[in-house]
């Protein structure tokens, strides 16, 4: 479940700040204060980012907090990356080319990062990477196949997040990753696996400098857990200069980065926990980028001088889990009725200010293999009422909806939904859960209804659907179980033939949409709010910024 976006919201609040605080601050025009501050942001080679949080840990095997995403992308590199293209609607922005590319190996348009070339066996059971030679880590050690092997061994040994990546790519034991020679490494699996190649584009599958790690860890800590929590040993474009948790992290561009020194020398990731404050800092010119803003704040920025707001369709999804293990949501008609009763359009307008699109599917609509034609739940209370009657719930029922106190959009959506449901006799009790413990509520799977925000990082239909709808998946928080879906997903995972995979995942989507395990809400956009002179922003499906993309 790499993609856990959950930390996103989790951490906003986990760090000592009450969300409410925010906004106020941002009050409209805010001329004064920040005038003097521009010194910091104007220098051509410094980038200041107002972020909701500094990284908690720098070890991507354990930490999935917001700041950590940015840090991992700067400090480490993986074997592969997606090629980039201009965003079709926002030409100033770039994004990954994740479309299905039948003529490329693995069906994806990729370029080599740490890998110079790669070769996928036609049966999909083995891939061999030739590494770039002469690539240096931030400690000066040269990249070798041993580093790749050690990295995946670490994932096997420590479990946690790494275990997820080994599992989805079909690796069963450490020996499946083999050093062929100094610069050649191979991944070998028993069954054909469609993700064998794609997985190496993932933000959270970077390669470690094993020499440095072993040196630091010694025999006490063979996987250098302590060291990697606060330091880095990787082959990425930046090195960590300073990190004061809760305040800021400073990154310095590496002269010896294999792809050439990035344009921006110094990046300051400043923790500004309230979104309103981030807005102001950007307006006042004190920072170059303000991350994760609220819809109304984004709208208010559209007319601000020297500020550019780019908003693009993203891999985020927000929905409400309808727990199939709890009555009355064990009844498929009740779940359908819940969707007919959901005023999707109104929510997108009032809560998202149109900075989102309706969630009309069960995986990101920007991913290949997405099928949007199976959503048939346009707001219709009569239909909902009819379905409830059919399910024997004609007189309505009472249930609870849990929402995250740390996510400012959830409470308003919950109230709007409550108002709509009241009209068909369903009484919804709202349960506010502190951000710090919200994900326990989710993973418990004991709430009849609970919000969830997520984004599967790997742009692949099999991967996305398996996460949420395979009855054995850890992330299947709605307790959805359908034998046909399980079978289709298993078959998808066992073949590398893309045409078969697309057909099967499409069929799975049809069943899932029909059985409505979620109340479908929206695809919120990803918004970049930045200074006008900053160029090069690229949207990634991992929903983070990568410093090396920017220039002035």
């Amino acid at each position: 479940m790499s993609k856990r976006l959950f930390p996103l919201l989790g951490h906003l609040n986990r760090r000592n700040f009450i969300q409410v605080t925010s906004s106020i601050a941002a009050a409209a025009a805010m001329p004064k204060i920040l005038g003097m501050s521009s010194a910091m942001a104007q220098s051509g080679s410094t980038l200041v980012i107002a972020a909701p949080a500094t990284p908690q840990s720098l070890d991507c095997n354990f930490d999935v907090s917001l700041g950590t995403f940015e840090a991992i992308a700067a400090l480490y590199d993986g074997l592969l990356g997606f090629e980039k293209i201009a965003d079709p609607e926002t030409p100033t922005a770039r994004r990954e080319d994740i479309a299905y590319a039948p003529d490329k190996p693995g069906g994806v348009n990729m370029y080599g990062k740490l890998a110079e070339s790669w070769e996928l066996d036609p049966d999909g059971k083995r891939v061999v990477f030739k590494l770039r030679q002469g690539v240096k880590s931030n400690w000066g050690n040269e990249l070798t196949a041993e580093d790749v092997r050690w990295t995946w061994n670490r994932a096997f040994e420590l479990g946690a997040l790494g275990a997820f990546y080994t599992a989805v790519s079909g690796l069963k034991r450490p020996e499946d990753v083999r050093v062929e020679d100094k610069y050649t490494v191979s991944f070998n699996v028993d069954e054909p696996n469609p993700l064998l190649l794609k997985i190496h584009t993932n933000l959270y599958t970077p390669v470690y400098d094993s020499v440095k790690c072993q040196q630091e860890g010694g025999t006490e800590d063979p996987w250098a857990r302590k060291f990697l929590e606060n330091e880095s040993a990787g082959f990425g474009p930046y090195r960590l200069q300073q990190m004061v948790r809760g305040q800021q992290a400073i990154f310095q561009a590496r002269e010896d980065y294999y792809a050439g020194k990035p344009a921006i020398d110094t990046v300051v990731l400043k923790e500004v926990p309230t979104s309103g404050s981030r807005v102001q800092l950007l307006q006042g010119g004190a920072v170059d980028i303000a991350q994760y803003l609220q819809p109304l704040e984004i709208i208010s920025l559209k007319n601000a001088p020297n500020v550019v707001v780019e908003t693009v369709p993203a891999s985020f999804m927000i929905w409400i889990e309808l727990n199939a293990a709890i009555a009355p949501f064990d009844n498929v008609d009740v779940r359908r009725a819940m969707n007919y009763a959901f005023p999707q359009q109104e929510v997108i307008k009032a809560v998202y200010q149109d900075l989102a699109s309706p969630l009309n599917g069960c995986m990101p609509n920007i991913y290949p293999g997405f099928a949007g034609e199976y959503y048939s739940y346009d707001h219709n209370l009569d239909q909902a009422k009819e379905l409830l009657e059919k399910a024997g719930q004609g007189s309505g029922f009472k249930t609870t909806l849990a929402y995250n106190a740390g996510d400012p959009v959830q409470e308003p959506i919950a109230i709007i939904y409550q108002s709509a449901l009241r009209k068909i006799g369903v009484e919804l009790e709202l349960k506010k859960v502190p951000a710090g413990s919200f994900y326990n509520f989710v993973t418990d799977r004991k709430q009849p209804m609970i919000f969830y925000v997520d984004s599967p990082w790997c742009p692949d239909p099999g991967y996305s659907l398996t996460l949420y709808f395979d009855s054995k998946s850890y992330v299947n928080y709605s307790n959805y179980a359908n034998a046909d879906v399980d079978r289709l997903l298993a078959e998808t995972a066992a073949t590398a033939d893309d045409n078969v995979r697309l057909a099967k995942t499409k069929e799975a989507q049809k069943i899932i949409m029909d059985e409505a395990p979620w109340a479908f809400i929206a695809y919120p956009n990803y918004t970049m709010a930045r200074k006008a002179d900053l160029k090069g922003w690229t949207y990634y499906t991992s929903n983070n910024v990568r410093f090396q993309d920017f220039e002035r």
Binding site: I24, Q294, L296, P343, A350, V351, P412, S419, R422
Partner: protein
């Protein structure tokens, strides 16, 4: 804010001037006082109006206070939304007048519960304080426990109580009651300490009357006046505490109309210049508390024989026709 009202001595009930002895005279005097001190009348007026609005809210409110109409989000004050709408299209005016139903219920119940518990424990602590044996031990225990309670930072304590009991009306009432109880405990104890030294109590004790009877018949009735005076002041403070808890997110569940949570919800919108969702409920809140403190100070004046005399004298001088001028 948390200063216990300096209640008048145990003698307060007695020894008033003759001016308000007859029943009708009492009420007449009250009215005369209101006329002489218009700010008191204002207090009763405000609280009365708030109560009426709350009771008749379903008849007065132009919209359902919890029915969102997202199409009408953030409408500025105007017609038909005289105080505008909030971010999801709830009518602010309807919510503002529904809110006292919750706020006053919590505040009044919380205050009464704390007054009852606090007074009973305070009476026991005071009564047994100088007796030897178990009684003294327990009275010491009560006092030390209340020390501990009072040493707690109020909000942290109240939020913790709500967190432990779960977010519900009852737990907020309990939190308000817990936080206020020590005030009444101390007040009652100090009153009882002085009353129990009075002759008639000693006499009853010597005559072998049971402790319970002495407490109920002789001690508590003579010590209760300052507690009652404290009630009104405290209700205002309890409303404030309720709203504060909601503001911090430990109050009533959304979208129940409640002033504190309305301020908190609207707070997000001030940023974009939408001030009405939080300014109006704040005004209503402040006005209500203001009303309660005016009533509180009127009770303080009326319960204090010396000040009552002053007013009576003043009334006489002004020749205001009232029972007070009898004589």
């Amino acid at each position: 804010m948390i200063e216990p009202a300096k209640g008048p001595g145990p003698s307060s009930g007695e020894a008033g001037p003759e001016v308000e002895q007859s029943t009708s005279g009492r009420f007449g005097f009250f009215l005369a006082v209101l006329r002489a001190r218009p700010q008191f009348a204002l207090g009763y007026g405000i609280v009365g109006a708030v109560l009426l609005l709350a009771i008749f809210a379903p008849l007065i409110a132009p919209f359902d206070p919890v029915q969102a109409s997202p199409a009408d989000f953030l409408r500025p004050p105007g017609w038909p939304h005289i105080m505008g709408t909030d971010a999801i299209g709830l009518d602010i005016f309807s919510r503002v007048i529904y809110a006292p139903r919750i706020d006053l219920t919590i505040a009044l119940l919380g205050t009464v519960i704390s007054a009852v518990i606090g007074s009973v424990l305070g009476a026991l602590a005071g009564y047994y304080e100088t007796r030897r044996g178990v009684g003294t031990f327990f009275s010491g225990l009560i006092m030390r426990s209340s020390d501990v309670l009072q040493a707690f930072p109020v909000f942290v304590f109240a939020i913790a109580v709500v967190a432990v009991l779960g977010q519900s009306l009852q737990s907020i009432i309990m939190a308000v009651a817990f936080v206020n109880a020590p005030i009444y405990l101390r007040l009652m104890r100090s009153q009882v300490l002085s009353v129990r030294r009075l002759r008639y109590v000693e006499a009853a004790y010597i005559a072998g009357v049971s402790d319970l009877k002495i407490l109920l018949r002789h001690v508590i009735p003579n010590a209760i006046a300052p507690v009652l005076a404290q009630l009104s002041v405290n209700t205002g403070w309890a409303i404030l505490l309720t709203a504060s808890l909601s503001f911090i997110g430990a109050g009533v569940e959304a979208p129940t109309p409640e002033w504190g949570s309305m301020i908190a919800m609207g707070y997000q919108n001030i940023i974009t210049g939408h001030w009405w969702p939080s300014i109006f409920p704040g005004l209503a809140l402040a006005l209500t508390i203001f009303g309660f403190s005016l009533i509180g100070s009127s009770i303080e004046v009326l319960a204090d024989p010396a000040r009552r005399r002053t007013i009576a004298g003043e009334l006489q001088r002004r020749k205001i026709p009232a029972a007070a001028t009898r004589g």
